[in-house]
């Protein structure tokens, strides 16, 4: 019952979020700010995670295919496809659910408990739209760039780990990442990223927006936003994979 009520309230909130903005340029400025806070400020963590992810995938593939029957370039191919299909979209989204999601929920939740949202409401501002829409737009626009960056950096990390440990030559790896490349996989990865970005920002916005109580509740909302975002990301990962790759 609680789940149904929460789902209903979530969709009602979405209805409020996607109403016509009061002043377009205020929303534009707000979106630009969010692009910095939620997008540009996430570049560092995405790069670090992607480099290590690519490196580990390469080493694991190499140590588990230590058979002369397997061509060595398959290590590069495995690294490329793992990163494009799963790691740069889903795993990075799970990490961003922790970083961006908790940031959104705690920011909006703090505004709620310190009556800043009430102050906006009194002014006649559509608070749901003003606070959450720029965050949704910013993440949906910027997260695909993060995914593309993650793919590039992840494959570079794989190449670096491969040649420095000597499990694969540079030539084999580069041949592997070019071999049997299917461009649609990039499209599939970006579609997933856009859906995950929407889930992270809207679910976290919802959790923050309906906080009641004090700072303890803000912390709980922040945790809930990460947990629910992660669960929904995994669920939609399954659904989208079946829909887009079957």
């Amino acid at each position: 019952m609680n789940l149904i009520a929460s789902t209903g309230r979530y969709f009602i909130l979405l209805g409020k979020i996607f109403r016509k903005p009061e002043k377009h340029y205020v929303y534009y400025h707000q979106t630009m700010k969010e692009l910095i806070y939620l997008g540009v400020n996430s570049i560092g963590i995405v790069i670090i995670i992607s480099v290590f992810m690519g490196a580990v995938i390469t080493l694991q593939t190499a140590y588990n295919t230590d058979n002369p029957l397997y061509p060595r370039y398959l290590i590069g191919l495995g690294c490329r496809d793992s990163i494009i299909l799963e790691f740069s979209s889903t795993v990075v989204a799970l990490i961003l659910a922790g970083k961006v999601g908790s940031h959104i929920a705690s920011e909006i939740g703090t505004m709620r408990v310190t009556e800043q949202i009430d102050a906006l409401e009194i002014m006649g501002v559509n608070t749901a739209s003003y606070l959450i829409l720029p965050k949704i737009v910013a993440t949906v626009i910027f997260h695909p760039f993060l995914t593309l960056m993650s793919i590039t950096v992840g494959i570079f990390g794989g190449w670096l780990a491969g040649i420095t440990t000597g499990v694969i030559s540079s030539g084999d790896f580069i041949y592997g990442i070019q071999y049997a490349f299917i461009p649609y996989y990039i499209t599939y990865s970006l579609i997933k990223t856009v859906v995950f970005a929407f889930i992270i920002s809207s679910v976290s916005g919802y959790q923050g927006y309906y906080v009641s109580g004090g700072s303890l509740e803000v912390g709980r909302a922040s945790t809930r936003s990460v947990v629910y975002s992660c669960i929904l990301i995994l669920l939609f990962n399954l659904i989208l994979t079946q829909l887009l790759l079957s």
Binding site: E22, K23, Q116, A119, I122, G124
Partner: protein, 248 residues
């Protein structure tokens, strides 16, 4: 004028407002007084539409407010300024951005006009050289004054203040009270102030409404309040030893 008729509100089984009715007159500083938890804030939030009444009516002049939808309430809300207990300044914005927010959102002024208006409002509340400061860098009294500047930036017809001098030293509290009174007179606003501070009552209370346990027990002026024979009101006014000594 703002008219409240039979305002009733409960949270689960707990009745916090019970048939409260009163008229808050234009151009006057109307005070709602009572102990903490008496229902003052719920009444104020119901008047501005942050809470919905279970029963009763809220009128802004000839317009019934409580039955309006979000879109129709917007036109009245643009004429409302509110000062919250904790100031509720936007902590990611500077003082200037806080005061300018309504101008950005609801006017087509150019930047220099907006800056001029912001400077005027900040000057009016005696804030100088703080335009670029963040709310976290201000003292409690300054934060309240910036919140007042933000509230009056669009020349509102109605001003609501929830415990405006809570957490302030007596001198700053009197300064905030006088500022509210002066602004009310200057802009001919209908002002409603929630407080439990008797100093405020005596300083600025042109009309005073006393609430206890969600029920309105008394209303009158600050010159009548000390002569009242309403027991709950007297218990409230003369709760402190100092007040009892002054009475005798």
């Amino acid at each position: 004028m703002i008219r409240v008729i039979n305002a009733t509100k409960s949270f689960n089984e707990n009745k916090v407002l019970d048939n409260v009715s009163s008229d808050f007159e234009a151009g006057k500083t109307n005070l709602v007084i009572g102990r903490s938890g008496s229902g003052k804030t719920v009444l104020l939030k119901s008047i501005v539409g942050l809470l919905e009444l279970d029963r009763g009516e809220i009128w802004y002049n000839d317009t019934r407010f409580d039955t309006l939808d979000f879109k129709s309430r917007k036109s009245i809300r643009k004429e409302i300024g509110m000062l919250f207990q904790g100031s509720a300044l936007f902590d990611s914005m500077t003082v200037e951005e806080n005061v300018m927010f309504k101008l950005n959102m609801f006017t087509n002024m150019n930047h220099s006009e907006k800056r001029k208006r912001v400077d005027f409002c900040l000057e009016r509340v005696n804030i100088r050289d703080a335009n670029k400061m963040l709310p976290s860098e201000l003292s409690g009294g300054m934060r309240k004054r910036v919140a007042i500047a933000r509230a009056i930036v669009l020349n509102p017809r109605y001003l609501f203040c929830d415990e405006p001098n809570s957490g302030l030293d007596p001198k700053s509290a009197i300064m905030i009270d006088n500022l509210i009174k002066d602004i009310t007179d200057e802009f001919k606003m209908t002002t409603i102030v929630n407080t439990h501070d008797m100093n405020s009552v005596m300083e600025i209370g042109e009309k005073v409404v006393f609430i206890a346990h969600g029920v309105k027990y008394w209303e009158g002026t600050n010159s009548e309040i000390l002569k009242s024979d309403c027991k709950p009101l007297n218990d409230f006014i003369f709760a402190s030893k100092l007040a009892r000594q002054l009475k005798h």
